[in-house]
Amino acid sequence: MSRTVILRILTGLAAVAAAFAVPFYLDGFWLQAGLFAMSAAVGAIGLNLLTGATGQLSLGHAFFLAVGAYAYVYFGSEPEGELGGLGLPTPAAAVLAVLAAGVAGGLLSPIGGRLKGQYLGIATLALIFFGQHVLFNATPVTGGYNGRAVPPLELFGFAFADSPGLVVLRVPFGALERLWFLGLAVLAGAALFARGVLRGRPGRAMNTIRDHEIAAGVMGVPVARYRAGVFLLSSMYAGLAGVLLALAFQRTVPEYFGMLLSLDYLAMIVIGGLGSVAGAVAGAVFVSLLPQLLTRYSDALPLVSDPGTGGLSPAEAARLLYGVAVVAVVLFLPGGLAGLASRTRAAGRRWFSPGSARRRFSPSSPETTSPESTSPETT
């Protein structure tokens, strides 16, 4: 067994151990931000399958997130007053919500199959406006502008909620701590599945469609069917992210599922690195955590004054820094964060094993962002 493999396994284990230790040490802010990041990561993996791997631009991702979130609430809530609900067991509601997002994607997949690239982007743009209109006006299902309370998930009698109380290793386990582990499991599952798709036959077909549609067709790839299929798959990922998001929010907020959310998702996959699972996860963490961290800790930065005392406020400084970070990533890291990771790894390998210096000129350059360059420890 080579040293690099052992190293990888060790890093992987350390990452898992760290992820498990988080709820025992960090406070609610980190857990809440982390949960949003995990849900964003699931959604971004889905969008990356569609946009990064297949080259289909989608601006409608927020719509499918909304379908997932609201479908979970509708299926899982008991009817109450003028609000409808099916009162199903919550795990069933979660599965049905993902399927509902899939159905919504399936209804649109004929469009997804025929249009390519930016044309699909324009078509899906309409979805957001349609979705917002429905969220605000289909009050019996969506709760209108009030939104609806999200029923906590209950898995085999274990509720992901604050009550009944639970203390693990003397640490009180509330909804956030419990959801953290659920989020980890869902994210790991979503990442593994996407990695399987990308590494297998479908992944190669998708990449070929992205790089050269005609060549793909000539080689026998059913282009339209693949495009439709990946559109459906990506909408199911968005639905899953929506369910996780609803659980983290504990209430659905119609305003949230707008244009900006879709743009955030595009930013995630571009910053993280197009076409890879690790890239999507890194980008999601970057985009959802950085502004929060900057806002929280910006009072420690130089040139920043207390809010309300004039001058540059922490919130404004956070916005500026976030903008600079995004521009820097786009300018200096062509492969996104995933590209940066594989480059550092390659550099590290050259540094640590002197005998492998000649491998630098091997035909498989380590800088490609092919699915192979993604590693399990970052997922």
Binding site: M1, I6, A21, F24, R170, Q292, T295, P307, G308
Partner: protein, 420 residues
């Protein structure tokens, strides 16, 4: 291979050891409430020498200017409070978090500051407050939302100040009928935002219109719409005798400006969020100065009240050259509501959240000298039903003067407020 196995085992043991060793969170789940040395029972956000009060504001989103003046006015209040000795010998410290009108950021920021705050002195944005309402209620964290829709009522921990939008509209329609010559059978237009603000206001206008024999011509728009030409045309075609305006300042300016240009000479009555003094520097100013009124539960900052005069001079001394808008006249009293609830709770020697809430809700008639008497014991009804009619004025501080003193119409008195 054996080497690897032992490494894995070592890593697993290490992980377990790390997990079980001392964590700050490891309280064993005990309640953190305890009695301090001075016999005062304290809860989250209260230590031996400080009381932390949170602020959830918007400094980078659509309400950035409002958020800034609100925060500054509240900082002024708590500085004065600390200079006068604080509460229970403790200094009050503000923790300000900006959510930029993004529910996700608001939820994260709330999760961060709620465990270490004793109250929230202002919380901008009803979508954000709604997203957190049930958690605020569970946390028993006294919160003053800076939004006035009826869906915010009904929670013991959430104190909507003044009137709600529907009450303002009922009093406003009553004003139009009594003083602007509207009569049964007339049509009134109502331009409103999709969402809780507009729809709360619409509830009020529809109720009042039904009682007074008027018909409401509805025009619903989205906050992203800017040009109101189509809506003016629709109102004109319907022959409305007055227009109610429950949108943002920008849309209100477009509406009155276009209406004036098209020769539609009717009175306009806005909700308190439809007007901002900055509009008087735009081309819409003549139209606004002509026949535009604002129905609001809070007195404008130009009100001839000693407390308001004092606030204006102190605010101008601390923040020279800065605009005095409704953020000041709304923020300072809101801070005072929280500050006085803390003082009351201190007198009862109970600075737990429950103690603060009890102290706050025990006050049946509070006005603090700011012109609006509020009953905080009402949980599922607005704290007051009296509405000022205010008119834009170029010369006045804050760009508006009182046109008609606060009054409760008979209609508003008997109006059943929808809750939740």
């Amino acid at each position: 291979m054996r080497n690897l196995r032992s490494t894995v085992a070592a890593a697993a043991i290490l992980a377990l050891a790390v997990t079980s060793c001392a964590s700050e969170k490891a309280t064993g789940g005990a309640a953190p409430s305890a009695a301090g040395g001075d016999g005062v029972t304290t809860g989250p956000g209260v230590t031996a020498d400080t009381i932390t009060v949170g602020v959830m504001t918007d400094m980078t989103g659509p309400y950035a200017s409002f958020g800034k003046t609100l925060t500054q006015a509240q900082q002024l209040y708590f500085e004065q409070l600390n200079a006068a000795g604080g509460v229970c010998g403790r200094k009050v410290e503000l923790v300000v978090r900006d959510h930029g009108y993004d529910p996700q950021k608001a939820v994260t920021a709330y999760t961060e500051i709620a465990p270490k705050s004793a109250a929230i002195a202002h919380f901008i944005g009803s979508p954000m407050v709604m997203a957190l309402k049930s958690r605020i209620e569970t946390d028993k964290l006294l919160t003053i939302p800076m939004a006035w829709s009826t869906n915010l009522l009904g929670a013991r921990a959430v104190q909507v100040t003044g009137t709600t939008y529907d009450i303002d509209m009922i009093n406003g329609v009553d004003f139009l009928v009594k003083e602007k010559g509207l009569a049964a059978g007339d049509k009134i237009g109502h331009l409103y935002f999709e969402g809780d603000y507009g729809e709360s206001a619409l509830n009020g206008s529809v109720y009042a219109a039904k009682k007074l024999g008027l018909t409401v011509v509805e025009q619903k728009i989205k906050p992203t719409d800017q040009d109101m030409s189509a809506q003016v045309a629709a109102f004109k075609a319907a022959g409305v005798k007055a227009v109610l305006v429950s949108v943002g300042p920008r849309q209100a300016a477009s509406l009155v400006g276009v209406a004036l240009a098209k020769g539609m000479d009717v009175p306009f009555l806005g909700s308190n969020s439809a007007y901002s003094p900055q509009l008087l520097a735009t081309p819409a100013a003549p139209a606004l100065l002509k026949d535009f009124y604002v129905a609001t539960g809070g007195a404008p900052i130009s009100a001839p009240l000693p407390a308001m005069r004092k606030l204006v001079s102190e605010y101008q001394a601390k923040y020279p050259g800065e605009a005095l808008d409704s953020g000041v006249s709304a923020g300072y009293p809101a801070a005072a509501i929280v500050g006085e609830a803390l003082k009351k709770a201190c007198e009862a020697k109970d600075l737990t959240r429950e103690g603060i809430l009890t102290a706050h809700r025990a006050r049946g008639a509070w006005d603090g000298g700011y012109g609006t008497t509020m009953d905080f014991s009402l949980i599922d009804r607005p704290a007051t039903r009296a509405t000022y009619i205010v008119k834009p004025d170029k010369e006045a501080v804050g760009g508006a003067v009182i046109y008609k003193e606060a009054a409760v119409s008979g209609l508003a008195e008997e109006y059943p407020v929808p809750v939740g």
